[in-house]
Symmetry: C4
Subunit: 274 residues, 4 copies
């Protein structure tokens, strides 16, 4: 019984490592993405029956594929050890939710969209890119916190002063933060300013200091990240090439010291004889 | 009497250095920030009594906290020597202003918002970040002055030529500078241009030269700052690592020169004997 | 017969290499560009006859010029080996399409515009610039793919949720991608958001996460490209200058080792005699 | 007679080099700038008499100042050799134009605005900054030309296709170029696109390719400039510090070679004797 099981596992393992199988999975992911896109066109309503069949086929294929990959592992725990496997597993199981209820149809549809993300887990270059992006998040942490504090203070001031002028833009602190984000993207910010200037003529100070502060911190953050990355790169390069030069120099010096010792011995010999 | 006083000071000092006390202060700052945010929601009107109580509690806590930190110092002067202490002291005393008058309520509220800034003085990483930001201001000084001169000249031209066309945008030189800042952020700048083009068809030259000049100077400023920071970093690195290599080389050379002297002595010995 | 042909080919070759001929070609390209520009002014309608004559003259000139360059080659295949020649050939032949039909007039006109691109193939500096630009495309490849996946997912979600709110902006997945591109350029994005917020109050999350994601990836892409270019430059510089220093160090070390061998021989001589 | 003249010239020279005199000039420039600004306020109409008097005073002061600087030179030709002197001379003489005619008043006013630019020629740091800015223009030359070609081609296509849809935006090639510049700044570009999409549904390709091309070339230009500046800086640094290290290495090697010659001589001595 066990040998039959192992023979199957070997087959699954070979299948998983097969380049053709990988290409097929990527093709199915792209088909699944096109399917989702096609559904958004009203003209495809008359092919709805076909789309549904294709959708079920894709779902079944993904289920089979992940089961094959699970079966290919020696222990099921190994499968869940790699983050990308958990990522795939969640996406596939999420799209298995039945869609009877009309409310649920929308949710099921939305969950199926995330299948496109499986492209990222299938293509190694995209995987590397995403890992690099995620790694660059923490170094923005404290700057993001500082930015949030500035947004919070300005939003509080804004909603205290301007709430009576325009409730839609400055009604409460969270609405005010959204309005401030809009101002930070320069989106019709003068309209917002002109409205408040009618009551508080000096309110341009509020907007200009906010724009300068956020732009200034953002600029500094960008430069900081560039320098941070560059410093790491140069340390890397030093280990690879620079260390070699330093080692060479160090070796040279000990060679020269050996020469001196040899000379000292020879001089002693010469002096003894004379 | 004095020993009682000193015993208390020691207690306060230990309390100030206590990690738990610090965390508590940060928690209270966050609560105070949330309190300020909560007041901007109309739904919180029925909890107004509670909010007021909490507000007073926070104010008292901050007062006690700063008094503890003052008492922990050997002399009161030492407390005011550190900039961040003065920063905290001003924020706390400002929020003590009584709020009887309706006009004063607004001011008192605004002053309380700045309590959120105490987060910056409490978290060392944010403190470092802010110091770094403040340090980067002077190197922008002369570029900012040049930018201001360009804004001033364009604003003067703008208000001379276009004041009759649109008094709201070009009425006087300060309004014109605000309009120019709006144009520099690309905010509906074409609307401003099309309006003046109806009278002065060639006014697009005014707008395009302004946009090119400010963008060009801004770009150069950014590149300048990046290079400035990088140069400082590389000088820093040279002191740390490069100096080592140069010193190594210098040492090597003097070693080799010693060898020569030794050889010269030996050669003289040999020649004398032959 | 053949010698006559060869004599002509030599003449064409000399003509092609002639600096004056080159300048004339550039001048004609600029005239052709101005001609195209002039036709867009309604005031030039009464010179239409003259413009037509000039247009034919320019077309004939370009035809003759490319024939001369073809005739100057030893074999016609050599002419088509260089990419820029194919580029010129396509532009010139495309503008030879007869323009009888009114529909064709528009197409012929459009094709003639691309003659301006011949400036790029004529000026070596522009040619170098374009080659550099084309070379920088592949390094953006996978980031562009990741960006496309994000756009696709957001567009699918957008058209599922918001299609009923605004068919013009979110009607199907391709319209939604255009709307998302608009949002990525901050173009009146708040209008789009406020419209959907009336139905889905929480839809600001959709917009903010999208803006942060695209801005974040774009920023990382930019930094990545800068670092990529810089790394290549530094490798280049190492080959040019750094290698010299390393070689110098290596030579020094082998010199010192030779010294040691010499000294060892001498020490042996001295010891044998004592 | 000549000695009297020379005594005066010395006095002028000392005055020109006087720090107080320089500060006074800067102060007068700032007053002149404020005067220009003040005139744009309608409230200042009743002080018009005073403003006129002040204006004349400033004009006279500038005239006297430039005459002093001229008189301080040994020969008048020396004065016009420095670019900044010509710059000052033009600004001062331009503001001397009489303003009788109402038309001329406007021109005279505009010319007076440029007096603010004298701040740049007076403050050495601003002078350095401006020289650096002017030096950075040529390295943008060919990229600007390429950008212009792209704008020209797109403007020609735009005015051919869209002139009938919106004459105000696409009427002729120069208007179309202005519209394209507006699109490049993302200023309400979707409004322009939606208008043309009603006739040519596929016109989004026109806008998207244009935006990608200009953004792409602009990005490359920026990176190119940064790298260009950095390369120059690193060459500079190599000359200053790196050369020292290379020279040190070179010296070391010739020292070691001298050692070898010495040793070879000694070995010959030893061998001769044995």
């Amino acid at each position: 019984m066990s040998s039959v099981f192992e023979a199957w596992r070997d087959r699954f393992e070979r299948l998983r490592a097969n380049k053709l199988f990988e290409t097929a999975v990527i093709a199915i992911i792209i088909i699944s993405a096109l399917l989702i896109g096609a559904k958004t066109y009203e003209e495809t309503n008359r092919f709805q029956q076909w789309l549904l069949v294709l959708d079920v086929a894709v779902t079944v294929f993904f289920l089979v594929e992940i089961l094959i990959r699970m079966a290919a592992e020696r222990r099921l725990r190994d499968f869940f050890r790699r983050g990308w496997n958990i990522f795939d597993f969640l996406i596939v199981t999420a799209s298995l939710i039945p869609m009877d209820d009309s409310e649920m149809v929308l949710l099921a549809r939305l969950l199926r969209i995330f299948r496109v993300l499986r492209l990222v887990s299938m293509i190694p270059e995209l995987r590397l890119l995403l890992v690099a992006l995620i790694k660059s998040i923490p170094r923005m942490g404290y700057v993001a916190l500082l930015m949030f504090i500035i947004f919070y203070i300005y939003a509080a001031i804004g909603s205290f002063l301007f709430a009576d002028i325009d409730d839609f833009l400055w009604g409460n602190i969270s609405i005010a933060m959204l309005t401030l984000f809009r101002i930070a993207t320069f989106e019709d910010w003068t309209d917002v300013m002109y409205a408040t200037q009618e009551v508080y003529a000096w309110s341009w100070i509020y907007y200009l200091t906010f724009i300068f502060l956020t732009a200034f911190i953002f600029l500094n953050m960008m430069i900081g990240i560039v320098l941070d990355v560059m410093q790491k790169e140069s340390v890397q390069m030093e280990i690879e090439s620079g260390e070699g030069e330093a080692a060479e120099l160090h070796g040279l010096r000990s060679d020269v010291r050996e020469l001196r010792d040899q000379l000292t011995r020879m001089e002693a010999l010469l002096e003894r004889r004379s």
